[in-house]
């Protein structure tokens, strides 16, 4: 069997295997959090997008922004679709492009809300997001406006 037929057969098999699979729309299930010593009370969706895409790197007072990505599945999915208007997979590809093109370093990632709370409470310029029921007084919740 030549390569053309092998490749065609493989493509067809995968197509049939996955036909009909549809992704569900995510529900909004996250809170944007910053350090309690930061004066900000709200942030526009566009500014938040630029911050997490490494295009906006300082707060209005000049303080450097420290971004942390929370990969806890439901929170990550909700944040990514709502704020970045892209899927977590597309966001991952974006970060890899930035890295392997030589255009920047992607922000660190964690996988639990607890790690986010610890990071944000310990860094004045920090911003991240947690699930709605994980907020503690150690961090400050800010509204995301359209």
């Amino acid at each position: 069997m030549n390569l053309k037929r092998r490749t065609g057969g493989f493509l067809l098999a995968i197509w049939l295997f996955t036909a009909g699979a549809v992704g569900a729309e995510p529900q909004e299930n996250f809170m944007m959090v910053i350090n309690v010593h930061n004066d900000i009370t709200s942030i526009s969706r566009k500014d938040a997008e630029l911050i997490f895409l490494n295009k906006k790197r300082s707060w209005p007072d000049g303080q450097n922004i420290s971004v942390l990505i929370n990969e806890a599945p439901i929170t990550y999915d909700s944040f990514s679709h709502t704020v970045l208007r892209r899927s977590p997979h597309q966001f991952l590809i974006f970060r890899k492009k930035m890295l392997f093109r030589g255009q920047g370093m992607p922000p660190p990632t964690v996988k639990t809300d607890k790690a986010v709370i610890a990071f944000v409470s310990g860094n004045v310029g920090a911003i991240s997001y947690v699930s709605s029921d994980a907020v503690t007084p150690a961090v400050k919740v800010i509204a995301v406006t359209q």
């Binding site: 053309k4 490749t7 493989f10 995968i14 566009k46 630029l50 492009k97 255009q103 920047g104 370093m105």
Partner: protein, 403 residues
């Protein structure tokens, strides 16, 4: 024993380091040094390429596994605004005999403000949507990008330049935002770059005229300058992105004190549009390259080429993408089908391709694709000295790991 006299040792070292990294959790490789942050990342890809009718990029009609890329990069934020970084790349392609390790990019970056930053060093050149990620297979939708614009024979030539660029992001109120880059410098061509190897015909003619026996090893290919600009428009409509890129350059090739080739690319302009909607995405790009080439004081090429493609992708699940590509290229926009000499009877390329990309997990990607082609543009005479076929095909499989 000098390090440079044994390039295979460096390749082995790079391979071993990458393989070692594959064995351990990638999170180990984000190293914190006090308040500064250093990161080490890399990738390894291995492919298989087979063609029918013509050889493509080397001897491929019997199939070849000479489709390997290994990269290792390190980045360090020395301050909040200052970053140093570099990536070593080993690239082994069918016609690339030496497979040397080279600096893929080597950057010192200072981010003054969000709308204005500066990079110096060896910097990736923006050209269309995908030129900057051509060395990293897992970042591209296809194994072989649309050749009309991302011609694989010039991949190593038009990948990066030594010089500088200014960059930044500008907000456009409710319209969205724009990423811009303005760059200038010089390209350093490797001795084993495809465009250099393919200059055998010029060398042969020069030898014949002067009763000499020089080879392409005696050829010195230099870039006098390259400059350009890029605008990437991220619209407020979710999923819609556009780009406009421009570059201009001049190359010369010398056989000792005799200039045998001069290529002046007056302008290469690429206009791009990309739109994603639910599980579908559409990418379209149009390009013209206005250039003039003189070989041994004879004008061999003068005028613009024309290139465009449409790439439609469907992702039934996020990790899996099927794509259909139609891609067209004409060596001369205003003279599309006239043979360009006895070794280039079909100076166009029309490519219909189907592909699959499967992201097995965050680190592993598998791709497969098949191309059916009418035409034999882009150095096909060099790869097929016995003559080129007008209709031909090629297929490729590739597995990539990145961390």
């Amino acid at each position: 024993m000098s390090f440079s006299s044994f390039p295979s040792m460096r390749v082995q070292l790079l391979s071993l380091t990458t393989f070692f990294c594959m064995l351990f959790p990638p999170s180990l490789w984000a190293i914190n040094l006090g308040s500064d942050r250093v990161q080490l990342h890399g990738f390894l890809t291995q492919g298989y390429l087979e063609s029918n009718g013509n050889n493509f990029l080397g001897t491929t009609e019997d199939g070849t596994f000479r489709l390997t890329e290994i990269g290792l990069n390190i980045n360090a934020h020395l301050t909040d605004k200052f970053r140093l970084g570099g990536q070593a790349l080993y690239c082994h392609l069918p016609a690339n005999s030496k497979g040397k390790i080279r600096a893929d990019w080597l950057v010192a970056e200072y981010h003054f403000t969000d709308p204005f930053g500066v990079r110096l060093g060896k910097i990736k050149m923006p050209m269309g949507l995908y030129n900057m990620e051509r060395d990293s297979d897992f970042l591209r939708p296809l194994i072989f990008l649309p050749q009309s614009i991302y011609d694989e024979t010039r991949r190593d030539s038009w990948q990066a330049h030594w010089g500088g660029e200014i960059y930044g992001n500008l907000l456009l109120n409710t319209w969205g935002d724009v990423d811009y880059q303005l760059f200038g410098g010089r390209i350093q061509y490797d001795d084993d770059s495809l465009a250099t190897l393919a200059a055998t015909e010029i060398v042969s003619r020069y030898n014949k005229n002067n009763a000499l026996r020089l080879s392409t090893d005696d050829l010195n290919r230099e870039n006098n300058y390259v400059y350009g600009a890029a605008l990437f428009f991220n619209s407020s409509i979710p999923g819609l992105r556009g780009a406009l890129t421009f570059l201009s350059l001049e190359d010369e090739s010398w056989l000792y004190d005799k200039q045998v080739n001069n290529l002046r690319v007056k302008s290469k302009i690429v206009a791009s549009l990309e739109y994603s909607w639910q599980q579908f995405s559409l990418a379209a790009e149009y390009s013209e390259t206005d250039r003039k080439q003189e070989q041994l004081n004879v004008v061999t090429l003068n005028g613009p080429s024309q290139a465009w493609y449409l790439l439609l992708s469907y992702s039934p699940i996020e990790a899996l993408t099927f794509s259909l590509l139609y891609d067209e290229y004409y060596r001369l926009k205003n003279n599309r089908h006239e043979p360009a000499g006895p070794r280039n009877l079909y100076p166009w390329r029309k490519d219909l391709a189907a592909s699959l990309r499967y992201d097995i997990n965050e680190h592993w990607t598998f791709k497969a694709e098949w191309h059916t082609i009418d035409g034999a543009a882009f150095y096909m005479g060099f790869f097929n000295p016995q003559g080129t076929e007008r209709y031909w095909q090629y297929g490729a499989l590739k597995l990539s790991f990145n961390f």
